[in-house]
Amino acid sequence: MLNIKDLHVKLEEEDKQILKGVNLEVKAGKVHAIMGPNGSGKSTLSYVLSGRDGYEVTGGSAHLGEDDLLEMEPEERAAAGLFLAFQYPVEIPGVGNMTFLRTSVNAQRKARGEEEMSAADFLKEVRARAKDLKIDADMLKRPVNVGFSGGEKKRNEILQMAMLQPKMCILDETDSGLDVDAMKLVSEGVNALRDAGRGFLVITHYQRLLDHIKPDVVHIMADGRIVKTGGPELALEVENNGYADILSEVA
């Protein structure tokens, strides 16, 4: 599904190499977690995959199925099935949440040559999905993320994911800023989307989230590379001992 080979990335503005050869394959139906200390390049990886400006790929490749992600515009990547749940979801005053969702869903459908969703079908779908995430009518009416609490913003990300039904979901520190109840709600939303045809890449600092979203594979990232890969037990090891042991072990 997602295939990253020897990916090298530097910042466009300054001569700073962030990713120094990332190799990663996420198969359909699998949940991979990436953990790692601050500054290891986890968020950069998610931004480069989704097509944010400001990064320069200096080597390697990233494919989603047959699609060469790095050659595509952000909207094309989205239409191809890539979804990034933002660490800091953006507030957009003046654009209603419903308008935003509907424009997104239909833009992707149009790009894929599919019929647009009718207003009635869309409404029915969004109401059902929102209910699961305890997103009320008021949150749907308000401008995108404006005045939302940290937890509401993250739930809104999952709502978008549920509506867009992507093939490959990247969750960038979705647990940050969440209390225990909100984390449960968000995790339930993610788990409901787990499917044999869908891959997940969960970026997190903490094992906590992985108690709720059980990963198949755990990677440790440090200094722009994946330095260790293992099963769920690797996350527990980090939780108990921190990164120091692992890092000294691979150094």
Binding site: E73, F86, I92, A107, Q108, P143
Partner: protein, 426 residues
Amino acid sequence: MAAPAEKQNTTEVRIAALDLPKGGWSDAARTEALTRLRVMGLPERRDEYWKFTRPDALTSVDVPTAAVLGTKEAPVFSEMDALRIVFNDGVFDAEASDDLAMAHVQISRLADSSSDIHWAAGLYGQLEANGQAPVARPLATLNTAFATDGVLIQVVGQAPKPISLVYNHLNKASEAILHHVIKLDPGAKLTVLEAGPAAARLNKVMEIDVADGAAFHHVRAQGSDHERCAATHIFARLGQESVFKSFTLTANGRLTRNECVIELTGDDAIAHVAGACVGDGDFHHDDTVFVTHDALRCESRQVFKKVLRNGAVGVFQGKILVKAGAQKTDGYQISQSLLLDDDSQFLAKPELEIYADDVVCSHGSTSGAIDEEALFYLRSRGVPAPTATNLLTLAFLAEAVEEIEDENLRAALVDQLEGWLERHRS
């Protein structure tokens, strides 16, 4: 103080090219206006309030020609249930207009000088004359002297439906000088809609007297003919607990100067003026607003948003004057521009002048580009960049558009804006 010789000359040349209409009851006001015009002279670039906008195209003897857009789209507000009054290049079109009759409302035409309209005689040119201090507005004075037509509306109760003024532009060298006078008696209510480019060059004045407890709503769309020029003035006087709300949408037009002069003379009155403009290329848009607070606990709002691209220029000159004794004034003013490229310009001159000590007045002015973070967020959800840009542009304009209270009117103008953005994709 008389204008300098050179200014006097240009003014006399312009006056000589115009015919002073024989207006019957309005003759005295016209003659008086002509005298005032001769003293102040037509505007020049050197004048303080014309620093950002070249008045030449508005004052020249020859009318700068403007191609007729000839759009096939239904004009804005045509779906609304309203009493329609149509002017073609400034000439009243009786056939296309509805009967000038409605409950609680009396409508006459300025050009119809046969009857003596007492109430209008007391107002015509009066609010305009009052609005000349401290800033001269000579184009309005020229209008009072030379206006060829317009509507005179007296409202004595709640008007059952809006009056819709439709201005068609048919001739590429036409000039329209229109002057409307609207008088709302105590407790009366009226909505006036205006739509269309009116002529290659338009000079329009609207004088509105809003008596105690009356409410006046005004929504206009200035038409999208690219080359037209327009100078418009609104002069409003507000009585106690009265409400005045005016919104203007400007899309295209080579030169537009919209002046709005409001005097809050009765306690607890409310005045909101808002505007949204979108310009691409050869577009110069100037909003000049002057709000005077001269009573207790009045509220005024000025909300102006401009979207500019390809060298378009936006100007905002907005003033709140709070006179001594106008305590508990609540004044607000915001002017913002969204510059879609590096070639466009926004020039703002916000002014506050306050002589009372217990007031709340705030003003702000910003210029900015599209928010890159928001743009990426939308694109990451599959929204193509041009659609995302339009969505964010509409969002930017929303604060001004939301000043329109009526939901249907608001939707009609959002449609216009969406259409414009769709046609002007980068």
